[in-house]
């Protein structure tokens, strides 16, 4: 497993900046293009890239399959939980004004932050889970076969 030296070095450099960019897209989505869906995909790409270059065992040591499967459901729970939370505070479902009753637009910021985070978590989980599902079926094929 000593082939693709350049790919492995470049991947090591890239993975951290991809994750940083995903976090930027996630939490800066209020001001610039982006949001949970895009951030989730970019975050998943970081792990998928690592998995493609270094192998499935290495990436699953960092991001095990059971955790990915939990994250898929957790994101939807965060989103729906935000709605249920505002419901319990006496507001409508997903009415973010509930979070700061004396300053409704501030509550909107918190609400959008929470649901976008939920979207990002689910999309990351689903994308990585689909990649794992495909990659676990068959060992990686050799370079000559392409």
């Amino acid at each position: 497993m000593r082939h693709h030296l350049i790919l492995r070095v470049v991947t090591k450099l890239l993975v951290s900046s991809i994750i940083l960019f995903a976090l930027y897209v996630q939490f800066h989505g209020d001001f610039s293009p982006g949001g949970g869906f895009q951030a989730g995909v970019i975050m998943a790409v970081a792990f998928i890239l690592y998995g493609i270059v270094f192998g499935l065992e290495k990436v699953q040591a960092v991001f095990p399959a059971w955790l990915v499967h939990k994250l898929m459901a957790l994101g939807v729970l965060i989103y729906a939980g935000t709605g249920v939370f505002s419901l319990f505070l006496g507001y409508d479902f997903l009415d973010y004004g509930a979070f700061t009753p004396d300053h409704p637009s501030h509550g909107q910021h918190w609400g959008i932050f929470a649901v976008e985070f939920g979207v990002g978590v689910t999309v990351t989980g689903v994308m990585v889970a689909i990649y794992y599902a495909f990659a676990m079926r068959r060992p990686a094929i050799s370079d000559e076969e392409w």
């Binding site: 001001f31 949001g35 869906f37 895009q38 970019i42 649901v115 990649y131 392409w146």
Partner: protein
């Protein structure tokens, strides 16, 4: 003028990519060309000022879809089988469908038409009220997560369901079966 030229160039490249895809036999190349196709569509969306959509197209269409298509290739053959039947009937079907779609676009409003259905509905209200009601500069995020929060929750649930579907179909995760001695313990306790 410059924008017309850019649009024209992008559309020509789009058509060229599509033709190249149909003429290729090696599926690895087809997957990469499909990625190029998505990237060109993303560029077209940028020229339409739909940056959020372009971002999604580039990340999902050109990024993840290509990876998933390549992963699928590892499970199947790498070369397309040569067609055995005459391509006449498929060609007629494609031509008729394409003509119907082009005929349908004749009814569509022009680009930037202020009387287009998308402009006269609630969109103006959203643009007018979001600065004071919510105060987030990116109106796309506001509409997506706040005004249309229910829709986005549905979308998230759809993504989740798609993931669960793939896991159930091909992940090979089996239901945990209890071994016989565990079963005995379970019954006695």
């Amino acid at each position: 003028m410059a924008e017309t030229f850019i649009n024209l160039t992008l559309f020509v490249m789009l058509v060229a990519t599509a033709i190249a895809i149909t003429r290729m036999q090696r599926l690895f190349g087809v997957a990469m060309m499909a990625s190029v196709f998505s990237l060109l569509s993303a560029l077209l969306l940028v020229t339409l000022d739909a940056v959020d959509v372009a971002f999604t197209e580039a990340a999902v269409g050109a990024g993840i879809s290509t990876v998933l298509m390549l992963s699928t290739l590892t499970l199947t053959s790498r070369i397309e089988k040569p067609a055995t039947r005459s391509p006449l009937i498929p060609l007629i079907v494609v031509t008729v469908t394409g003509a119907a779609i082009i005929y349908g676009t004749l009814d569509m409003p022009n680009f930037g038409d202020p009387n287009a259905p998308a402009q006269v509905g609630v969109a103006a209200q959203y643009l007018e009220r979001s600065p004071e009601e919510i105060g987030i500069p990116n109106v796309v995020t506001v509409v997506l997560a706040s005004y249309r929060g229910f829709d986005t929750m549905g979308e998230t649930a759809v993504v989740f369901t798609a993931g669960v579907g793939v896991l159930m179909l091909i992940s090979g995760l089996r239901r945990r079966r209890r071994s016989p001695d565990e079963k005995d313990r379970g019954e006695t306790s």
